[in-house]
Every structure is written in structure tokens, then in C-alpha cells.
């Protein structure tokens, strides 16, 4: 049960991490916020930092769930899956990511 909780946390962190890395990018900021990216340099910087932090925490969560050799594989694959999920969300439902544009 504990393993499952850590893996759910790892997944959630990977998804938000990827979203927080995608949002600050010029094209995607425009898609989600409908505002020019140049207007919000500090927020974008903050989101990039959050994204990196979330991905790192995701790795730690994976390490809590499994032995290191397996955790590394799970993390790498979670990142791939999360990147795809974020890309598809940006293509079809960019509004869903608006909530993540905090700060």
C-alpha cells in the first residue's frame, strides 16, 4: 500500500513538473494564458524552478517505492509519459493547465 502511495505521488509530481516546464515556453504560455509571454518573466522563472523541483521530488518518491535500479527506470518512463500527457493537453485542452500557472 505504501509503495502504491509513493508511486501515485511520483506520477502526480512528474505530471505537474512537466507542465511547469512547458508553461513558461513562449508558444505554450500564449496557448494557455492568452497573454504575451514577455509580460510575465518572473512567474515563468518561478514555474521553471517549480518544474525542476517537482521532477526531482518525483525521483525521490520513486526511490521511496522501490530499490534504486527499478526506481531509476520507473522515473525515466514516468517522465516520458508525463511529457506526452502534457503535450496532448496543450494540443486539445490547454485551459486545463491554467490552474498550474501560479504566482
Amino acid at each position: 500500500m505504501a509503495e502504491l502511495s509513493w508511486l501515485i505521488a511520483a506520477t502526480a509530481l512528474a505530471l505537474s513538473g512537466m507542465a511547469w516546464l512547458a508553461l513558461p515556453m513562449e508558444v505554450h504560455w500564449g496557448q494557455v494564458m492568452h497573454r504575451p509571454a514577455a509580460q510575465a518573466p518572473r512567474t515563468r522563472q518561478l514555474l521553471r524552478g517549480l518544474g525542476a523541483l517537482a521532477l526531482l521530488l518525483s525521483l525521490l518518491a520513486c526511490l521511496m517505492a522501490d530499490r534504486p535500479s527499478m526506481a531509476a527506470l520507473v522515473w525515466i518512463m514516468l517522465m516520458a509519459g508525463s511529457a506526452v500527457a502534457v503535450a496532448l493537453t496543450l494540443s486539445w485542452r490547454p485551459r486545463w493547465l491554467r490552474a498550474l500557472a501560479i504566482g
Binding site: S69, V74, V84
Partner: protein
């Protein structure tokens, strides 16, 4: 040959990607299915739908079953003439071949157990060589009863070998082609990154509403880059797994001298006899040896089940029994082998901890072969494999879209042929797989040679899909969409739903039962995956239908339109 580095990489990626792509997509797709190969086995063989079992008693269950196994007729016919030395005497009859080694194998996902015998060749050409005629069986470990030999395990005996050998065993050509494809894939990944200037800027970019050429390229880049570590490592580890035996067998040819010397030295160091003594001796209780092995593993803080067991030099004084631990809780495969003297059960040798090189190799091969018990990681592997399929499929689509207008103007058939081949290997392949599952449910359970009929259904259906793809491809020569894509997606949806319904009807294990009332995830998983696939196929049908409708009118229609309006103008 090329003006610069980028141009050469582009040419390489385009043409090798195209040609080898047809092989690679088969490898990727069936690789993805192989993650759940045993679950497909359960679906195809309803008699085996019970819970995974640990390895049973050797003395009570495995030995009697092994003693019933006979040398395989096809193996005998093909290999006996190669191994037997006629100068030493007449060919030993198949039934009289002596058993030389026994093996048994199971994993945490196996209800039924695989086992086999290596029969010796008494008057061999090369007495030092591994002269074996094989006989295999699958048994129910609870009773020792054999599963019928002509019932095909669609997952582990068809989808999985399709993945690494294209099910083409002749001269192992299939394995070599897949090996070449793996190398080309590595080259395609490197050249792809070289070509793709905006790797970071377009990391999350997918523009489905743009014209097909752009959205196909977006998806190709996305699926290729996002899972780049996965794609690279799977191709590389695939080569490493078969490296010593098939792709770079230096030990069997150039360095045979050094290799054989090492075998002798190793036998002396480990005390495990390389040759039989020629003196008969009974086999002591293997169960006692297994118990001792489990104790020793627990003592090393790695308690576990037996994954693989082997008896060498059966019935001989030099016989020894090797017991290996199942690696369900780690990436590396079976390991921690412990070896016992066959006639007495005395401990002969315990495998030492692996060297660093060996650890790296075990990690790499284990990462690919995934015997571990980790359901999330398995499903993530399926995702990775399907992303690879999408990368290759969108590569085909991009190739055709980029060239079909020029080809239409020049009256060249190239795009049409590539498009038809793409339909064959993308949707046609999925139709073949689902068609095989449908055939499995439609054919009577007691049909003799049922496995052969299912294989025929697989190839027959694929051939029909290919025919359909080509026959319907004429519009591509006019720079339009091939309707076969949409029609085959419909077929996939229909076959997938049919398979689920037929499973419920013919076995009674419908989804309500396998998910809720008498949960059995192996079968429920396959059924649910089939339904999800059907859903995706229908979504793709609708997408394609919209694109087909949005296409420019055909030249014939355009002529009619313009002549009508000219007539209107003339008369109006």
C-alpha cells in the same frame, strides 16, 4: 556523397528509417504485446486460467513429468543427421535417445510451468560439443498433467518470438534481420536528433489541427524525443542480449580456442564436471537440494522462489543440479545459482557475487527482459513501445505526405506504394494480431493442430490486409488519402470487440466476472485493452473521415465544377 554532415544524416534517417521501419514497427508492436505475453497465453488457453504457482516438488511432480517427455520429431529429423557420426554406427532411434539434461522454468506470472529435456546423441561427430535433441512440455504444476502440445501460447510462443525473430527460424535469419534493425534504429535516433534543430523548443509541440504533413512530423518528433532513453536502451540492450550467441559469436569461431580453454578451467575451479563420467548413478532428492538453496538465499538476505532448475548429466555419476533464484524483485534476471552433486545432494558450488562487468550486463539485459514484478513499470514499458510504434508510423505518413504531390504531378507511383506498405505494417499488423485472437476463440478447442491453424489465420488475415491496402491505394497517386487507413481502423475496432464478446461467450469469463465477481486480471486486462484499442481505432476513423472530407475535390470534379460555371457564365 553528401554536401555536409546534416545532409548525410538526413539521407540516412529518411531512407534507412523507411526501409527498416517496416521491420522495426513489427518489433516494437509485438514487443509491447510481449510485456503481457503470459496474459495473452491465459486468454488463448482457457484451461490455464488459474493463479500463478511456485515451482512444485521436483521429486513428486516434475521428475515423473520429465520422464514422460520424448525427443521432438521435427528437431530429431532436422538435427540428428547433423550431430550423428555415421562412421561410428547406425542412427539411434528417436525413442531410444538417452536424457542428458533436465530443465524447469517458471516466473511470478506463470500458472503453468515450462520444462524440457536435452537428449544426448550417443555416437556424435563432436563428442565435446553440446549435442542435444530437445523435447519440451508445459504442465499444470498442481497435478503434473501436461498441457496439449499443439495448443499455441499466443503470447509467449507467437507474439514474443515475432518480436525478436519475426517468427522466421530458418537459419536464424529473422534474428539477424531484427539485429540489423536494432542497429539501424540506433542510427536513426542519433541522425534524428541531428536533424531536429528545435529539440528543446518543440519538446511539447503537437499541432493536430495543421495539415497532415506538419502534424505527422510534430507527433513523430514528440514520440521520438520524449521516449529517447527508452528507444535507445531497448535497441542497445536487444543487441547485447543476443550479442554473444548470434551477432558477434567470436567465442564460437575466432576465439574458440580461448573459450574452450576457459570452460575447462572454469569446470576445474567450480568443481562442476564439464563431461559425463560414463558411470550410472541415481538422482538424490532434488527437493532437499531446493530447500537447502532457499535457506542459503534467505541467509544472504535475499529469500526467494526457484525460477530455474537444471539437472546436468542425467543418470551419471558426474550429474549435478543447478538451482537459480527467480528475480521478481530486482532488475537482474535469475541468478544466485547454487549447485549440488546429483547423486548425493552435497553442495558443490555457490555462484559468487557478480563482477562489475557482469552486474552491468545483468542490469541491461534484465531491463529489457523484465522478469520483475512491478505492474506500473510494465505498463509504462507498453507505453514506451507504443510511442515507438507511433514514431515509426508517423514517419511513414510524413514521408508520403511530403512527396505525394510531386509524385502525383510526375505520375510516379512511389508514394502510393509506400503508403500501401505503411497501411499493411501499421493497421494491417494490428488486424493480424486481433484476427488471430478471434480465430483462437472461433476454432474448436479440441481441433488437432489448432496452433498451426491460428498461425495460418494470422498470416492469412495480414495478407488480406495487404491486398486491401494496395487495391484501395489509387487515390494516393492523386495526392489524396488512402481510404484503406480508415477502413482498416474500422476492422480493428470490429475485431477487437468481437474478440472480447467471443471470449465471454465461449469461456464464460466475461468482464463482469473477471473484474468483479471472480477477479482474474490476466484475462480482464486483455479484454479491457482490446476495448480501449477499439475506442482509439474509432476515434482515428472519425479523424480520418474529417480529413478525407476536407480534401480538395478530385481533378475530375474540379473540371466538372469549372465547366459548369463556365457554361453558366456563357448562358447567364
Amino acid at each position: 556523397m553528401f554536401q555536409n554532415f546534416r545532409q548525410s544524416m538526413t539521407w540516412l534517417h529518411t531512407w534507412f528509417g523507411l526501409v527498416i521501419g517496416f521491420v522495426l514497427i513489427v518489433v516494437f508492436f509485438f514487443g509491447s504485446l510481449s510485456v503481457f505475453d503470459r496474459e495473452f497465453d491465459r486468454w488463448a488457453l482457457p484451461d490455464t486460467r488459474f493463479d500463478p504457482q511456485p515451482m512444485p516438488s521436483f521429486d513428486q511432480v516434475l521428475l515423473p513429468a520429465l520422464q514422460k517427455i520424448e525427443p521432438d520429431e521435427a528437431d530429431y529429423a532436422a538435427n540428428m543427421p547433423l550431430l550423428h557420426d555415421p562412421a561410428k554406427g547406425p542412427l539411434t532411434p528417436r525413442i531410444e535417445l538417452p536424457a542428458d539434461e533436465y530443465w524447469a522454468y517458471t516466473t511470478h506470472r506463470d500458472p503453468v510451468l515450462s520444462m524440457g529435456v536435452g537428449f544426448g546423441v550417443p555416437l556424435a561427430r563432436d563428442p565435446d560439443g553440446h549435442n542435444h535433441i530437445h523435447g519440451n512440455a508445459t504442465i499444470d504444476p498442481r497435478s503434473g498433467a501436461a498441457v496439449r502440445a499443439d495448443q499455441l501460447k499466443i503470447g509467449s510462443e507467437w507474439f514474443y518470438p515475432m518480436h525478436y525473430s519475426l517468427n522466421w527460424p530458418w537459419m536464424n535469419l529473422g534474428i539477424f534481420i531484427v539485429g540489423l534493425a536494432a542497429l539501424v534504429m540506433l542510427a536513426a535516433l542519433v541522425s534524428g536528433v541531428v536533424m531536429h534543430r528545435k529539440v528543446f523548443r518543440e519538446f511539447f509541440t503537437f499541432r493536430p489541427k495543421k495539415h497532415t504533413q506538419r502534424s505527422a512530423l510534430d507527433l513523430h518528433n514528440l514520440t521520438g524525443v520524449v521516449a529517447l532513453p527508452f528507444h535507445f536502451f531497448f535497441a542497445f540492450t536487444g543487441l547485447v542480449i543476443f550479442g554473444a550467441f548470434y551477432f558477434l559469436p567470436v567465442s564460437q569461431f575466432q576465439l574458440k580456442g580461448l573459450h574452450d580453454q576457459h570452460e575447462v578451467v572454469e569446470a576445474a575451479e567450480t568443481g562442476l564436471p564439464h563431461q559425463a563420467a560414463g558411470v550410472p548413478a541415481p538422482l538424490a532428492s532434488v527437493d532437499a537440494m531446493v530447500a537447502q538453496a532457499k535457506q542459503r538465499w534467505a541467509g544472504r538476505d535475499m529469500a526467494g522462489e526457484v525460477g530455474f532448475l537444471m539437472v546436468h548429466h542425467v543418470g551419471d555419476a558426474n550429474s549435478y543440479v543447478s538451482v537459480y533464484r527467480a528475480g521478481s524483485d530486482r532488475v537482474a534476471l535469475v541468478g544466485e545459482g547454487i549447485h549440488f552433486k546429483g547423486s548425493t545432494g552435497e553442495l558443490l558450488f555457490e555462484d559468487p557475487p557478480r563482477s562489475p562487468v557482469s552486474e552491468v550486463n545483468e542490469f541491461l539485459t534484465g531491463l529489457h527482459l523484465q522478469h520483475f514484478e512491478h505492474w506500473l513499470l510494465r505498463w509504462l514499458y507498453v507505453l514506451g513501445g507504443l510511442l515507438g510504434c507511433m514514431c515509426i508510423a508517423t514517419g511513414f505518413v510524413f514521408f508520403v505526405e511530403k512527396r505525394k504531390r510531386q509524385h502525383a504531378k510526375a505520375g510516379v507511383q512511389g508514394s502510393r506504394v509506400v503508403d500501401a506498405l505503411a497501411v499493411t505494417t501499421v493497421t494491417g499488423m494490428v488486424i493480424a494480431a486481433t484476427g488471430m485472437l478471434v480465430a483462437n476463440r472461433l476454432l474448436p478447442a479440441d481441433l488437432a493442430g489448432k496452433g498451426d491453424w491460428e498461425k495460418a489465420a494470422f498470416f492469412g488475415v495480414w495478407a488480406l490486409a495487404m491486398l486491401h491496402a494496395f487495391v484501395r491505394s489509387a487515390p494516393v497517386a492523386q495526392a489524396r488519402l488512402n481510404p484503406a487507413w480508415r477502413e482498416q481502423c474500422w476492422t480493428i475496432a470490429a475485431l477487437a470487440v468481437a474478440a472480447v464478446l467471443l471470449n465471454g461467450l465461449t469461456t464464460g469469463d466475461h468482464l463482469v466476472k473477471t473484474v468483479f465477481t471472480d477477479t482474474y486480471w490476466a484475462v480482464a486486462g486483455v479484454d479491457l485493452s482490446l476495448l480501449v484499442s477499439a475506442g482509439i481505432a474509432v476515434a482515428v476513423v472519425r479523424l480520418l473521415a474529417r480529413r478525407e472530407q476536407a480534401q480538395c475535390p478530385t481533378p475530375a470534379q474540379a473540371d466538372t465544377n469549372s465547366s459548369d460555371s463556365a457554361a453558366e457564365v456563357a448562358h447567364g
